[in-house]
């Protein structure tokens, strides 16, 4: 048996003494847990040779709340509230992943209206998440203006959520068996207004930032991820698609009403930071396309097919379900022993957790400033890593 346990101290060694006054030596620097690039508490330990990154050692866990353990004492309706708190920029999609898994396990069939509203909400949120990512990427690379623009458009979509759901960030809207509330009477009109407003805005984003030579220099051919490597490193979402792998659950395993909508899976060719940038820019337009196709045809029907307060029993077994969030595949594993409402074990496969690992393969050899660009192009949400 060759199981040997290690600690962080085994990995982070003290600097060696330089052989001469001119010799260089490697040293370790903490990036984080408080660093603007992390957008949360993420510690990266960097092994550096001058400005060149030799190794990245991610040390997550600062936002670890033990969600999986908590789930073992909660019913499916209560767990919905915890899924919001992982990837808060894909809260509705996380809700949906849980709701869908529970419904399939418990044999609850939801109607077309529920599925259409869920799809619309998910696409609105994907758009919102990408808009915010765009702004934050600009800020990470030293351009503050995009940040303000990104937040401006995020606000507009946030108002739609607020009107129907009453919350802006942790929404708990998509429940097992349907939706928490029916949509606001003005929902369709408002969504159409926003879609009309945002379409030219995305073009404006291109004129503002995409064509900027500094941005292109900092993204093009930086952090190249080959398709084989992207898959081997467990990347999903825009990261794996930018490497040319057309893996999008909305297409390969359609759920909701994605099967009815026409949209393209956006893929890159090179797999560098620039491709990841372009993929997300185009995905915003594809999300708008889906929204515009569905918004006029929301079928009638109840917004909830299960009685509030009714116990939802999950039959014994392992139930796995997954959705495509703004960051990639969010998977839910519910292990039920058939007794009571609470699952025996709950596990969440979060996209940011797996995408973070790619940074250890991408960053070595590049400068610290490139590491910033690489991490920003991976679009990580820290609570989604730590769970």
């Amino acid at each position: 048996m060759s199981v040997s346990l290690r600690t962080l101290n085994d990995v982070v060694r003290p600097p060696t003494t330089a052989a001469s006054a001119l010799a260089t030596q490697e040293y370790f620097v903490n990036m984080g847990p408080q660093h603007p690039i992390a957008h949360g508490s993420l510690r990266l330990v960097l092994r550096l040779d001058g400005e060149t990154v030799k190794e990245v050692i991610p040390v997550p866990g600062f936002v670890h709340r033990g969600i999986e353990k908590m789930c073992e004492h909660l019913g499916p309706r209560q767990i919905v509230h915890l899924t919001d708190r992982m990837d808060y920029l894909s809260a509705l999609m996380n809700n949906w992943a849980l709701a869908m898994t529970v419904e399939r396990a418990a044999g609850i069939a939801v109607n077309e209206r529920i599925e259409t509203i869920r799809t619309l909400m998910a696409e609105l949120q994907r758009l919102q998440s990408h808009v915010l990512w765009w702004g934050v990427l600009g800020m990470d690379l030293g351009a503050f203006t995009p940040f303000l623009y990104g937040f401006r458009e995020r606000e507009v979509i946030g108002e739609i959520f607020e009107e129907t759901i009453g919350a802006r960030l942790t929404m708990n809207y998509i429940q097992p068996g349907g939706l928490m509330y029916d949509i606001h009477p003005g929902f369709a009109r408002k969504v159409k207004d926003v879609a009309r407003y945002i379409r030219p805005i995305i073009d404006e984003y291109d004129t503002l930032l995409s064509g900027n030579v500094i941005l292109q220099e900092r993204l093009r051919n930086i952090g190249i991820l080959s398709p084989e490597k992207a898959v081997a490193l467990g990347c999903t979402g825009p990261v794996v698609r930018a490497s040319g792998v057309p893996y999008d659950l909305r297409k390969v395993e359609p759920y909701g009403v994605y099967g009815k909508a026409e949209f393209d899976v956006v893929v890159g060719t090179v797999g560098d930071c620039w491709d990841r940038y372009c993929v997300r820019m185009e995905e915003m337009r594809q999300s708008l396309r889906i929204i515009e196709q569905l918004i006029d045809n929301i079928p009638e029907g109840p917004h909830m097919v299960v009685k509030y307060g009714a116990r939802i029993r999950i039959p014994e077994g392992i139930h796995y379900g997954q959705v495509e969030t703004a960051r990639g595949v969010f998977g839910v594993t519910i292990v039920s022993d058939g007794k009571g409402e609470a699952p025996y074990r709950m596990h969440f496969r979060s996209p940011s957790f797996n995408n973070l690992w790619a940074v250890t393969a991408l960053a070595p050899g590049w400068r610290i400033a490139d590491l910033i660009a690489i991490q920003s192009s991976l679009d990580l949400v820290i609570p989604d890593i730590d769970r």
Binding site: S2, K69, E316, N354, W357
Partner: protein
């Protein structure tokens, strides 16, 4: 088709699922990835379940093939007393990362893992919180 000696269908999983003996795992993993008919190149998720009444951990590997578009859930069991499993990191590099989570929270030991460290919790943390018999001072009792 029998994937490995001793393998059997894992019932009560909502996706195609196979249970294999833990001794067969190391030889099976490269076959799953490289066999032209299988090509499971993406390890989507890996986790463990603590079946304390049976005295075993069940390990789950959710596999997907980006080539063929099919998926498979692979499970294997190890005893709780000596939960040593071969690492599959050489086949699916992301396993290095996912196995560290299972080690940290469930205490599964991965034979051959080059960097088996705690992931979320501190290095001097005692116990593995996702085990069913885990107790610590800060845990709240369930309301009666």
């Amino acid at each position: 088709m029998a994937l490995a000696p001793g393998s059997s269908k894992r019932d009560k999983v909502n996706r195609p699922a196979v249970s294999v003996p833990v001794e067969a795992l190391a030889a099976l993993a490269p076959k799953l990835r490289d066999d032209p008919a299988l090509r499971f190149d993406l390890l989507l998720d890996h986790t463990a379940i603590d079946w304390i009444a049976d005295g075993r951990f069940e390990l789950i590997y959710h596999l997907y093939s980006t080539v063929h578009g099919h998926h498979l859930t692979l499970t294997t069991s190890v005893s709780r007393e000596n939960p040593v499993v071969p690492t599959v990191g050489a086949v699916w590099p992301i396993a290095h990362w996912q196995e560290r989570e299972a080690f940290d929270l469930m205490g599964v030991l991965y034979d051959g893992h080059a960097d088996l460290r705690r992931l979320f919790l501190e290095d001097d943390w005692e116990g593995h919180p996702l085990r069913k018999d885990y107790k610590d001072d800060s845990m709240l009792g369930l309301p009666k």
